[in-house]
Each structure stands twice: as C-alpha cells, then as structure tokens.
Symmetry: C2
Subunit: 345 residues, 2 copies
DNA sequence: CGACGGCATGTGAACGTACACATGCCCGGC
DNA sequence: GCCGGGCATGTGTACGTTCACATGCCGTCG
C-alpha cells in the first residue's frame, strides 16, 4: 500500500491519457478505448498488452471527458426531503454502497420543500450534472406528479409506492405493515384505537393510514378521527398530552417510531402509564426503539435492502435491461412491551 | 412554473452551447465565456446582450466540458464512516445545502472500514471524479495519517479536531463538552463515575475521554477503568447489564446518546433505577434524547452549524481565499431527569 | 504628433474520450 | 480461385468549454 500512496503523491505531471497508454502498448488509442469498454473484437494478446500498459502507467479514465462525449456521467442522483432522518439516511448509505460497487458515484440533493418549484429546481440541478438516473426518497404524492409532468428523459426510481404505481417504484408493503400493527392491537383486545398519522400528502402516511383503516374494517371496529402529525418526536409529545385529555381510546398506532416515542413521553407527562393505560405501536424499528422504556412495539423495515433494490432497478433501467422483479419486502411486527391487553375496568 | 417544466420537457434537440449563445448575441464564443466567468473587461452593454441570449435559449453551461478543460469539477466529496447515523447524517444534510447554494454539488462516499486500504480506495475514487475538495467525517485518528501521507493535492477539511490539528479541521469542543457532562455529575455529588467510551481510535472518543479525565482530575476524584463501546445502543444495553454486576459507581458518562439509552435499558433489566440508583449522561442530544424515559441528560452539539462551517472553510481553501476564523462551537449541557444526586445509603 | 499601454473583443487550439468510418487480413463457400 | 464477410485494428473528428495569444481601438504622455 505504500507503493500505492507513493504513486499518487507528488505527481505534478499531467495524468496519463488514453494515448499515453496506446503509445506504451504499441497500439492505437482506439484500441485502448475498446479494451476499456470491453469491446468483443479484440485479440486477447493485444488486450493483455494494453492492460499491462494501463497498470504500468496507473492510468485512470478521465470521467469528465467521458461524460462530455457521451453526454452522460456515471453519477446517480438521490433526491430526498429528509436526508437527516434515520430511514432516508440508512437507505442512502446502502444506495451509495451499491451504486459505487457498480461503478457509479452518488450525489445527493436535499428538498427544502415539497413545492413543485423546489422539486423542479432540484431535478434541474441534477439533470444539469448529467446524472444517469435519479432515486427519489421524497415520498410526497406531489413529487410524483411533478416528476411525471416534467417528462424528463432521465430514468428515475422511487423508494415509495404511489397508488397506481407504474412499476418504477418499489414495493415496501407499508399498507400491510400498518395492518399488522393495528391487527396486533386488536388481537390484544383493543377496540378503540387512534391513529397518529403522518403529514397529509406523504405517500407513506397515506399507506399506513390505509392499513390501519383496513384492519379496523376487517374487525368491524369503529373508526376514530386520526391525529395528523409531522413525524417528529416533539409533535408526538404534544399529541400525547392532548390525547390524554380525550381518553376515548385504549391504544394508539403511530405512523413512525419518533412520534411513538414522543407520544409515550406525553402520556407519561399526563399521568398515563404505557402499556397499562394505553398501548402504543410505532413504525420503522429505529435502533433505539427496543431500548426506550417501555421497549416499543413497532414494524420493522429493511431500509438497506430497499436501497439496494432501488439501485438495481435504476441501473437496469439505465442500461436498458429488463427490470428485475422483486418480491414485496414483507414488513415484520416486533412485539415489545409498549403494547399489552387493555386494562378492563 | 408550468413554463419552466414545459421548457425542459420533450426537448430532444441538443442543448444550446456557448456558440449558440454567441451567435444569437452577435459576439464570439469567447465573449460569452467571459460573461459566464465574470471577466472584468467587458462592456456592460455587450454583457447584457449575452445575458439576454442566455436566458432566451435557456442556456446552461455543460459541467463536464468545463471539468474537462479546467481539470476540476464543482463537486465536493464527503467521506464518512457512518453515513447512516444521526450526527453524520445531519451534518451531511447541511453540508449538501450549504455547498449547493455556493454552486457546488456533493458526492458522498462511505468508508466500509477504517483501514488505510479502504481510506485509500475512497480517496482515490473521489480524486478520480476530480472533486474540488473533501470533507471528512470519518473521525478515526488513522484517517488523518493516511490522508496526510497520501499528500493529495485536493484540499480537505475534517469535522473533527485531531490532536495537533493543522488548522484544516474544525473545533467542536468535544473535550469541553465531556468535561461539562462529567462536572455536572460531580456537582450533583457523584464521586464514582464510570466512562462508557467510544472505540479506541476515534478522535471523538479520545476527546470525550480526555474531557472526562480532566473533570475528574480537577475534582481530585479517582479514575475508574472505562468501558470501551462501539457507539451502538445494543452495546450500551450489554454494558449496562455487565456494569450492574460491578456496582462500584453511582454514575456513568456515556460517549454518545445511543449507548446511553441502551445503557439505561441494561440497568433497568438488571433491576437498577435511573436516576435513583445510577445517573446517566450522554452526548450529542439526538432528537429522541429528551423523550425517552427518563429524559436523558446530555451534551448538545450543533451538527448543522458544523456542516456549514466545514463547507465555508473548504471553499475558502479551494478558492485560495483566507480561511475564515470561527469561534469554537460551545457544546451545551442539557440537564434532564436521567441524572440526579446519588442516593446515600 | 507618434508610440505605447490598456481595454474590449476575436481566433485558434487543447482538454481526453467515444463514435463513425476506413482498412487490411483471413477464412469459407461456390 | 475468387469474392464476400466478419474480425482486429487504425484514422479522423466531435463533444463544449477555457486558455493563450492576436487584434483593433482609444487615450495619454513625452
């Protein structure tokens, strides 16, 4: 490795080009290009000579030149509204990893807002960088409409399934996960279950709401007006205090773990005990979920696998190959201490 | 905005180049280039004509071509070992935002390991993309040695302060934060305080350890052998159970919140009450810290500000400007319910 | 009053790659 | 034995930008 560092250090002379390699190998620059792009018609012996020259000079293709002539770079863009949060962040990490092993770099762009203008700006920034494709983690319904409306010629994939998906998005079965969570509460004996939902136009919020409603309907249980949250623990805390006043329920299904944890805090502040007085179930299974008190019952999502699949799907699209078919990512219920049978009075 | 989407949609003809703009404005391509690069010697009237042509054609400079000829792209690389975690993720989010408003794109690369080989691979990947600079969030001591050893000609900035920093890293005063946390426990009356430290070669782990030791020394208190963790809540849980057996302490200062939360869980499992039997203090102030039970006393870090400063520092270096001078980012103690006076028996 | 310097602009080339086309060769079929 | 075709390779050029150098003009100073 010392050799490797030696090689790249202090070298002020211009980096070797494809022609330098050609000269050393005694072939034309085009032959070198063919070797690099794995052209079939090339004699193994010639190929080897070129490869030797490449490693002798420590040659690396100039990506900018390649991007210029092909008008496409080996970069995929990740567009996300909430880069800082656990789900997106861990998906991005694996997207980055998967893309890089396939030879693609990853550039991220944060969506400051979900307005069509902001989305347009973000997409145009990415397109201007001549990225090969886009992974969208901004799960608002609008984003889809805007993207489709822009009719950009860049392939894109979304980590969330929109209703009426066109096959360009992935199925992490949110509806089923939410159904599982709610059914778990019903199985425990709860009949009055409130849903602490996510923001109005988020696809995930919608799916989880649907799963919740499906479960209630299947059990012929009454629907209680849901509370609209903003995904944050702070809101959960606030909602807990508010809900405690109402008291017309024995369990809450929160649309994500952060709100669920805040919610338990709010209940505690209001003098309610979880799970004796109220059961709480979350969604996502973030790393701390099992360590808070009481350990949070939640629905586990495989974010890394989601990221890997997104890259695979996107690259297939970019390369014009047939899209791989994935089974749905089955969410799993993790029953813990925050949910229990209701206390009968 | 409909116009904007209209403009970019369905356009199959090649994007306008600098020469198209020149033709429309009735000048040479070089004059257009001068306008783009804000060359001083240009008549305002000519400049205006060029600008009009640019907006008429909706011209955008081709970044690949620019990168090719200048052999430098407007991309900054972010190298991180733990992209998925809260601290790095929220720093990256603001780095991305700050960089983008300055006209730079951001590409991230994950460090799968902290070995010199892995670091070398990551750096070379970034250099190959001709990035303008690197922000390092991989806070292992080694990373610095490797980077310096490689003597790359790309400016880089680190989010962590190494001992003997060369001014190319930022001061988020970790030592002071840890000292505050420990002093808080001492002020409450604790005399036997264990440190649940981070992994051996992490700069942050080292700094927090030092702050802890400083506080003990200032108060003439005995040192207890620290426990080495891996930053995860799961390890914290394990450590809690193990430590409960020893019982030669009344408080623990954990090097991060995740471990602190796991630790409280472990203590609970072992039948200890926090804060009655043991006080716990964390570090980072992640969003759930105030909502867990008991709400976690911790040291607040301003990750977003850290990200912004990193970009500012890096861009100054890239542009050859003088480095801005920042005051140290003062960490703040957030005293909550997980710490209390020791229970005297 | 002529030369000279700075301003405003233009001309030509270069960056490093991939693509289109051209070339020479060998092999097999009629 | 000749010709067509595929294989292996070479030649030239385009991509869109910036840089180095050239040019024409005007004002100023000796």
């Amino acid at each position: 490795m010392e050799q490797a560092t030696e090689r790249t250090s202090g070298r002020r002379s211009p980096a070797p080009s494809i022609r330098d390699v050609a000269r050393l190998a005694g072939v034309s620059h085009q032959t070198v290009s063919r070797v690099l792009n794995e052209h079939p018609s090339i004699r193994p012996e010639t190929k080897q000579r070129v490869l030797d020259a490449i490693s002798a000079l420590d040659y690396r293709p100039n990506l900018a030149a390649r991007a210029l002539v092909t008008s496409r770079s080996n970069v995929i863009g990740v567009m996300s509204a909430t880069i800082g949060e656990f789900g997106p962040a861990s998906s991005i990490a694996t997207i980055e990893e998967a893309a890089r092993t396939e030879g693609y770099a990853v550039t991220t762009v944060n969506l400051p807002a979900t307005t069509p203008e902001a989305i347009g700006v973000a997409v145009r920034q990415l397109v201007r960088e001549q990225i090969a494709g886009i992974v969208v983690i901004a799960p608002q319904v609008r984003v889809f409409h805007v993207l489709r409306g822009m009719a950009i010629d860049v392939p894109f994939v979304s980590l969330q399934t929109a209703s009426g998906a066109t096959g360009e998005s992935l199925a992490a079965d949110q509806v089923e996960g939410a159904r599982l969570a709610t059914a778990h509460l019903i199985d425990l004996g709860h009949r009055d279950i409130v849903h602490l939902a996510g923001p109005q136009d988020w696809i995930e919020a919608e799916s989880r709401m649907r799963g919740y409603l499906d479960a209630l309907r299947d059990a012929d249980l009454p629907t209680i007006a849901p509370v609209r949250g903003d995904w944050t623990a702070d809101f959960g805390h606030f909602a807990g205090i508010e809900l405690a006043r109402r008291g017309d329920f024995t369990a809450v299904f929160a649309a994500n773990d952060l709100m669920a944890i805040g919610l338990m805090h709010g209940f505690r502040d209001a003098g309610l005990d979880v799970p004796r007085d109220v059961s709480v179930v979350g969604f996502d299974d973030i790393p701390v979920a099992q360590h808070v008190w009481p350990p949070l019952t939640t629905v586990h999502q495989d974010f890394p696998e989601l990221g890997r699949r997104a890259v695979e799907l996107l690259l297939a699209d970019i390369r014009g190959e047939e899209a791989p078919v994935f089974g749905p990512l089955e969410p799993q219920l993790r029953a813990r201490a925050s949910s229990a049978a209701p206390w009968r009075d």
